[in-house]
């Protein structure tokens, strides 16, 4: 009886805890850019060094600058040595870099795409990449249209039978709902939704992925994950840095668009969503979209009651004097762009009725960190009242970065003959509990896109629902500018933000 021919490499089966992706060509548009050098190629090198990539892989840099593949490899080699999370082994880099080529073309030159198609076919034959193509748009959104249009015209958006073609789109996914829709329509004109991977690197972080495991694999948490036991949730993303050379983009964007619309609403979704029907990408994303649709819209005067925007003035961070935002290079001296925003958000569904989610994000704050803090309700003030002891509420903190981990604050009796109650903390640190390095978010996300797993990527309706919520706030902001508060660089934001949370008889956590 003749044996059925293999459709894939059976020696790969079960070899990894996750499967090795199919052989493929990764084509990076914007190959000369920062993202390619700092994140993408170091991530690819680390994956190769960990044996997580198939041997049959090609990386093609597509950019406008005139250079040879050899020069491109040399530049990338320097970048990898600088930005790789693990030490670079020269021979291994040499071997991996053999898979890298450079393709020079203007993004709007159709000929460049025809020659790219030829180049990819040659690579398929030489390296066994089987016609699988992953296009990475590491360029500014204003370049998307011309690139997608040319990919479509050259037929590179469609794969041969038995192969696949996918596209990774970097944020920002638009600047508001209309532009996001236009962008999505544009992407859809070349790639359907199942081929599209919208990257939000926060979702690639180990702790963000752990939120679901923590909630749904531990009976003790899920049973208490509702308005009966939870008082409020705080989601914070703080950084001591200023705009750091991103002023051109940031001054148009601001903290709400730059961080809240994508990263922080994604974290809110993971915290608030119902258990999905399965672990497949769409089951999870369906639940996240339900959360976004349940967000109580903030419009008109409600915005000024529930949202605080602020901008940093001059101050000191880590003992160094720093300039006010308006004095930063390439920032409009009269800019009203918010570098800090605090919001009180309500998720109007059964589980979360009456539980506010406080979101806070800012630049030039004293300390960098991203965390989700779930503040549990107080115990009835009965039993220990007579002792005069303060009973602190339980807090479960999920630290996204840095020092990824989870901690739970609870009360304990202090040893001694009298009854004294003190808060104690149970702490879990990824770094000390699991004896291996946490991979960079881009490593996981690149691997997932190559493997066709879209779980950690944003779906079109997620992006658009998030914009619907954000656009209403921006609309209200456009009507007046006198609500913009100024906070000193190096402080935890304006007093208005403290007032916002104080109305709920709570205070912001000290990170």
């Amino acid at each position: 009886m003749p044996t059925e021919p293999f459709q894939s490499n059976p020696l790969r089966d079960g070899l990894n805890l996750r499967s090795i992706p199919d052989p493929c060509s990764l084509i990076i548009f914007g190959a000369s850019g920062d993202l390619t050098h700092r994140k993408l190629v170091p991530a690819l090198y680390n994956l190769a060094a960990d044996g997580a990539l198939p041997q049959a892989i090609s990386v093609v840099g597509f950019a406008r600058r005139d250079k040879t593949s050899e020069v491109f490899r040399k530049e990338l080699g320097e970048a990898v040595r600088k930005f790789s999370r693990q030490a670079v082994n020269d021979e291994l880099w040499e071997n991996f870099s053999n898979s890298i080529t450079y393709h020079r073309s203007e993004f709007d030159n159709p000929e460049g795409y025809v020659s790219l198609a030829r180049h990819l076919e040659e690579l398929d034959a030489a390296r066994g990449t089987r016609g699988n193509r992953l296009f990475y748009l590491a360029v500014a959104p204003d370049q998307f249209e011309v690139i997608l249009e040319n990919l479509r015209k050259s037929g590179l958006n469609t794969a041969a039978p038995g192969s696949w073609a996918r596209v990774i789109v970097e944020k920002p996914f638009g600047t508001d709902l209309p532009s996001a829709r236009r962008l999505n329509d544009l992407v859809e004109s070349a790639f359907d939704e199942s081929q599209t991977y919208r990257i939000d690197h926060y979702l690639g972080k180990e702790t963000a992925q752990n939120i679901m495991v923590m909630r749904f694999a531990n009976a003790i948490f899920e049973a208490m994950w509702n308005s009966r036991y939870i008082d409020h949730v705080q989601i914070t993303a703080s950084e001591p840095l200023g705009v750091e050379g991103r002023a051109g983009y940031y001054d148009k964007s601001g903290a709400l668009r730059d961080m809240v619309q994508n990263h922080l609403l994604q974290l809110l979704c993971l915290t608030a969503m119902e258990p999905p029907a399965g672990l497949d990408a769409d089951s999870i994303r369906d639940e996240k979209v339900k959360v976004l649709r349940s967000l109580r819209p903030l419009a008109g005067d409600e915005v000024f009651r529930h949202v605080v925007r602020a901008q940093y003035g001059a101050g000191a961070v880590n003992g160094k004097r720093v300039a006010a935002y308006r004095d930063e290079l390439n920032v409009n001296p009269e800019s009203n762009t918010e570098t800090f925003v605090a919001l009180e958000v309500n998720v109007d569904n059964w589980r979360w009725a009456g539980v506010p989610f406080f979101i806070r994000v800012g630049k030039r704050l004293p300390k960098g960190g991203t965390e989700i803090a779930v503040q549990f309700k107080s115990v009835p003030p009965v039993l220990f009242r007579a002792t005069g002891e303060t009973v602190d509420d339980n807090v479960l903190v999920i630290r996204i970065q840095p020092d990824e981990g989870i901690s739970l604050r609870m009360c304990a009796k202090m040893p001694g003959s009298s009854l004294r109650i003190e808060p104690v903390k149970m702490d879990f640190h990824y770094g000390t509990s699991f004896g291996k390095a946490t991979p960079e978010a881009y490593e996981r996300l690149l691997l997932d896109a190559m493997s066709g797993d879209a779980t950690l990527f944003a779906r079109r309706d997620e992006v658009e629902e998030a914009w619907k919520f954000i656009d209403l706030i921006h609309e209200a902001w456009r009507t007046r500018s006198n609500d913009l508060a100024i906070y000193s660089a190096g402080s935890w934001g304006p007093s208005e933000a403290d007032e916002l949370i104080k109305r709920h008889e709570a205070t912001w956590r000290r990170l």
């Binding site: 009886m1 490499n9 790969r12 070899l15 805890l17 198939p54 049959a56 040499e94 071997n95 640190h429």
Partner: protein, 368 residues
């Protein structure tokens, strides 16, 4: 005449009475300053019959504890000692964590069990485990017979090294018994298999090319050249090929025994049958002072070879498919000592289904 046992307790810490271990450990922490935190995520137990390995084992525990905070128990058991005796020592391994302001500490308890006291092993182990934490037992050397049902049923991960066994065939059969007996929940972790992981990755990658993986249906022969004493390693690799490609052992039970064959000749030792009844011959060449280990796979005119020179950090991979591919590449070869291999094993959660399947494929060829 019985071999003299040299036992050196220096480096094992504070001698304590077995009944007072918990109390003495408590004192140890009371006397330490506030910057030290005791942590434990697993019970890591090492059993050895070799007193000279205690120092090295303590060093291994110290390194492991830096990555996997644990309650470590080191047991030296000497059942042939004439008089029964049981002694214990305690110490701690502390490591800086984060930015260095705190130290995470793991406890180590060491036991010496002489004569009949060695039979009290399960009792001693279980009464000193950290409650509710998984038990990883590294059994150095040959497994004891008869297998103690109570002991094995409590072990979550049984770590051993089939490359170090004096009677590997017999021991592999014994291990297989564990997977069907009372210890069937136990995860078998053969360090020999873990050590082969880079080989399996690299061998698989030889067949990633679209022109290469169809050749897996056409394999005629596999030749494995390994250093002296590596037959079990070679067999595990062959078992892996057989399980992944659905081969069955030809003439099982009838074939010449691998472990009775002469060494160093590289002649075909046995055969597998593919699903379409093609014969696939395999040969294992063992030689002393092996400078180069290699696996050569022939599929008609095509050849796939993976080799590793002693001390090299890379594999050399060669693929030759007439008129299609003629390539040489290097692939990463992570050099691992015993501690690294253990760390790799402890960092990997879950079972080893490929190992169990590979074992099933080769056991018919390994007659006791």
């Amino acid at each position: 005449m019985e071999k003299a046992v040299t036992f050196d307790p220096s480096g094992l810490g504070l001698p304590v009475e077995i009944g007072l271990i918990d109390k003495e450990l408590g004192k140890l922490w009371e006397s330490s300053d506030d910057t030290k935190t005791r942590a434990s995520l697993i019970n890591f137990v090492i059993h050895t019959g070799d007193p000279s390995s205690l120092k090295a084992d303590t060093e291994i525990i110290s390194t492991i504890a830096a990555k996997h905070a644990c309650r470590a128990i080191l047991i030296f058991s000497n059942p042939s000692a004439p008089a029964p005796a049981a002694q214990a020592w305690i110490n701690a391994h502390c490591h800086q964590t984060g930015k260095g302001e705190r130290q995470l500490c793991s406890e180590q308890i060491t036991f010496r069990l002489d004569g009949e006291s060695a039979n009290a092993l399960p009792n001693i182990v279980f009464s000193h485990l950290d409650t509710d934490l998984p038990l990883c037992l590294w059994w150095q050397g040959d497994l004891p017979e008869p297998l103690d049902e109570t002991l094995w049923s409590w072990v979550d991960r049984l770590i051993y090294d089939s490359a170090k066994w004096s009677r590997p065939v017999h021991q592999l059969h014994l291990v297989r018994h564990l997977t069907v007996g009372s210890g069937k929940g136990t995860v078998l972790c053969d360090l020999n298999w873990t050590r082969l992981q880079p080989w399996r990755y690299a061998l698989a990658s030889l067949f990633d090319h679209s022109a290469a993986f169809p050749k897996l249906n056409q394999i005629d022969s596999i030749n494995v050249e390994l250093g002296n004493g590596s037959r079990i390693s070679a067999m595990l690799l062959l078992g892996w090929f057989a399980s992944q490609l659905n081969w069955t052992a030809a003439n099982s039970g009838e074939s010449q025994s691998l472990f009775r064959g002469r060494q160093g000749e590289g002649r075909p030792l046995d055969e597998f049958l593919s699903p379409d009844n093609r014969k696939i011959s395999f040969a294992i060449t063992e030689s002393q002072n092996q400078e180069r280990n290699a696996v050569l796979i022939r599929c008609g005119d095509s050849e796939f070879e993976l080799s590793h020179a002693a001390n090299a950090e890379f594999f050399e991979a060669r693929i030759h498919i007439p008129e299609t591919i003629d390539s040489r590449q290097i692939l990463p070869f992570p050099r691992r000592n015993t501690t690294d291999t253990l760390l790799a094993e402890l960092s990997r959660a879950g079972r080893h289904p490929l190992y169990t399947k590979s074992l099933e494929k080769i056991l018919p060829l390994l007659r006791r």
